[in-house]
Amino acid sequence: MITPQPRLRAMLSLSITAVFIGGLIASQWLLTDSVQRMQFGARLAPPSLEHWLGTDALGRELWARTLAGLALSFWVGCLAALLSTLIALSLAALATLSARLDALVSLLIDTLLSVPHLILLMLIAFALGGGTQAVIIAVAVTHWPSLARVLRAELWQLRQAPYVHISRALGKSRWFVLHGHLLPHLLPHCLVGALLLFPHAILHEAALTFLGFGLSPSQPAIGVLLAEAMRYLNGGYWWLGVFPGLGLLLMVLMFERLSSQLRRAL
């Protein structure tokens, strides 16, 4: 199916996402205290006009906590995706330097891919002692292999391109070839790759935090909210579990859509 105006659609997606993210960040400026404020008169209140999405066991507003959790996920996801893309790019570049380095990088990729992501994440988070930093590093370190493979293949192909040969023959330096010819070509791949990584990064961050390895339980992360909701599941307090997850799903879907449309437009 060929969409009539892929660029227009991508722009639309981009602006919707930008507005959403802008709102999310702005809301964190405005709601500094309501995230942790406890109302003991309204503990575990169901959703109503007064408490939009209900309240948790300590009477904290769920909507404020969900928004805070999404903002936290966004920052963690951004940093992790960025770091991961950088790792992928540098290792892909390293792999093109010599055959031996290439074998080493692909052995590293095979090693990382052979352990289930979640277990590797747990190992890394364990090694770094948990916390926000550990989660960001763990997610970044586990998510680069697929992008690195794409970039590596692309680089190998580019090196054979006539204009690169000509540029070399004209006596341009390696650095010039790299940043004048190769990098501009790879940037769209990196952008789309980072965007594709982003939803995975947030989902894995939430899963890791949910299991208790990630962000600390005092932070209103989505994983923490859901882990708390698990304790009240049998009591039928459905709003605690439903809304934070729904928020996360919406955010992931939005980025998924944006990345697929950007890929088509670029």
Partner: protein
Amino acid sequence: MPRIAMRLGRLALVLLCVALVSFGLMMLSPIDPVDAYLGPQVAQVSPEQRALIAERWGFDAPPAVQFGHWLRQLASGDLGWSHVYNQPVSEVIGQRFQRSIVLLASAWLVSALLGFALGVMAGAKEGSPLDKMISTYAYLTASTPAFWLAMLAVLLFSVTLGWAPTCCAGPAGVLDQDVTLTTRLHHLVLPVATLALLGIANITLHTRTRMLALMRSDIAIHAFAQGAGRFDVAWRHGLRHASLPAVTLAFASLGELFGGSILIEQVFAYPGLGQATVAAGLRSDIPLLLGIALFTALFVSIGNLVADTLYGVIDPRLTTGGS
């Protein structure tokens, strides 16, 4: 059979790397293994006793020596002692994996078969209402957090409707031997369903893409010209054409399946290997954590090996055509 030998050699190399990386990560950890072992009793132990324990366990040796020691033990089949379960690690993994394999295997089968069928159906007629429904479903589940879906399932089916139990592999207070097969299955239904539901999306999307490509190919145009219907072409050509990526993907996604099972077992409190992994990580049971990392790496690598080999069996052109 030099190909197989090469693959096995590669497998051993990758496993060695996994051992090295995971051991290195454990050495990096700021959590002291002696403290983790002692737990709250750490206050009653004098520094001299602590040093004695550390020496007995060989923590005073440099990391390289420790790694060599561990590898030698591994080679003789000794994975160490798990202090969380107070059992040898190999026994913990064996017992837990028996429970998990039921969950994993049934979810894997359901997701592979259903995912493939849905993909073929969606790809047979592009843009039809059925295709749109299936694709939307697949896109949605591809971005749904596994544990959230499991929580929703518990909320709906166990808490609200009361159809399925909320937790564990059997009713509480009943000995393991006394649990009947039906109760066991009853406890399995919801975890298997949620785990399978998530695995379906990936296979469906790949199969659909492959089917779409087939429907535009010369083979299909030729068949249409001879008067064949869409489902006829899908049945005769599509199944074979699309089964290759589906089979490979099913075997290659074992790691993801296992990751999903950790989360699902946590939500349903199902006493499998996934739950043991979480317990080992949270309570710093390093030997168990290392054992599980190696074991799952073996599991996933064998899955990849099978996928590679099946590639050649399903499509012999791939093995004879190459070098």
